[in-house]
Symmetry: C2
Subunit: 175 residues, 2 copies
DNA sequence: GTCTATACGCGGATAGAC
DNA sequence: GTCTATCCGCGTATAGAC
């Protein structure tokens, strides 16, 4: 896999369309146009719709792993990192975030996307447990973050929680 | 609207298929067969795919309103009710729960379903705020419940939280 | 009311030119 | 590598019989 810049542009377009319009409504034609190529051009890089999906899954997994590593190295800690980015990214829209939202939307239809999503969520839960010690605290923080994702997907924001991340972490810990 | 039993059977089938296979992959043919009628028969009751969706949305809204009323009247309280049912229903599978999951899955593609979902979530948040007083506590419990829904949708369970609902409520409250 | 038959359009995929 | 042209199958919706 050399450096197929065109492949990435196509995946970018696909991701973007899934995020905005939802899966299944996205046609190869639409992805190709958005990426600046023709349907035939797209199908040269990805032999089928299935292959295109697989490409997105692979990239989403990679981006998530990197993000998880960044969280582990973050001074604020994994918990604050996870909650903060969950709340902020809907606006900022980093590549990881977009890929993750696309993943979840695809998960409503594609079993492979659902599996990839579970893998991501499990990774965060593991890192949180590692950091917080108490499993319930970890599961709570994780669930709050997951809830924020669900809201983002249906078009709801979570500023209330975003403004009180430290307090949220304090409350979720054992008393 | 008299008592169109056939309409309901069709909506049941549609809901079930959306929950299991995801939206958009569900064809009118499949819904008709699952409901025990032909495509033509289905289209007599619902003039178009759009009308079928609208039917599901309407029913989901109604079921959710009823559930919200039940929660408000429940001795355990709204918070415990919301968390408990979120965790348990994936197994039990009540009509409200199925309708809600279908709603969320549809929300990834259909703006109207997204709006209906936001309306439902807002209703729970309002009831929780009313009961708990503190807005942050309410938002926290709501977010945890929402997170549990997200997990259910991607095929993850949340037994850990389900086994500690009282503790969850205790921790989310102000200290 | 419910069915069958059919028209119609669209999306995925292939073939082959450039 | 990328495009155009084309084929094929499927899903929605309509028409009309029963």
């Amino acid at each position: 896999m050399p450096r197929p810049s065109q492949r990435d542009r196509i995946l970018d377009a696909y991701t973007e369309l899934v995020v905005t319009s939802g899966p299944e409504t996205v046609t190869l034609e639409a992805v190709a146009t958005a990426a600046g190529v023709s349907k035939g051009g797209l199908l040269y890089h990805f032999g089928s719709r299935e292959a295109l999906l697989e490409g997105l899954l692979e990239r989403a997994r990679g981006l998530n792993d990197d993000d998880l590593a960044a969280a582990r190295a973050a001074p604020e800690g994994v918990a604050a990192y996870y909650l903060r980015t969950s709340v902020d990214e809907p606006v900022a829209g980093s590549p990881v975030y977009r890929a993750t939202v696309a993943l979840i939307k695809l998960a409503t239809t594609e079993p492979r996307a659902a599996e990839a999503t579970r893998r991501c969520l499990a990774g965060w839960r593991a890192a949180l447990t590692e950091e917080l010690g108490d499993p319930l605290s970890a599961d709570l923080v994780a669930a709050v973050g997951d809830g924020i994702y669900l809201r983002a997907i249906v078009g709801d924001s979570s500023e209330g929680l975003g403004a009180a991340i430290d307090e949220v972490i304090r409350r979720t810990s054992p008393r």
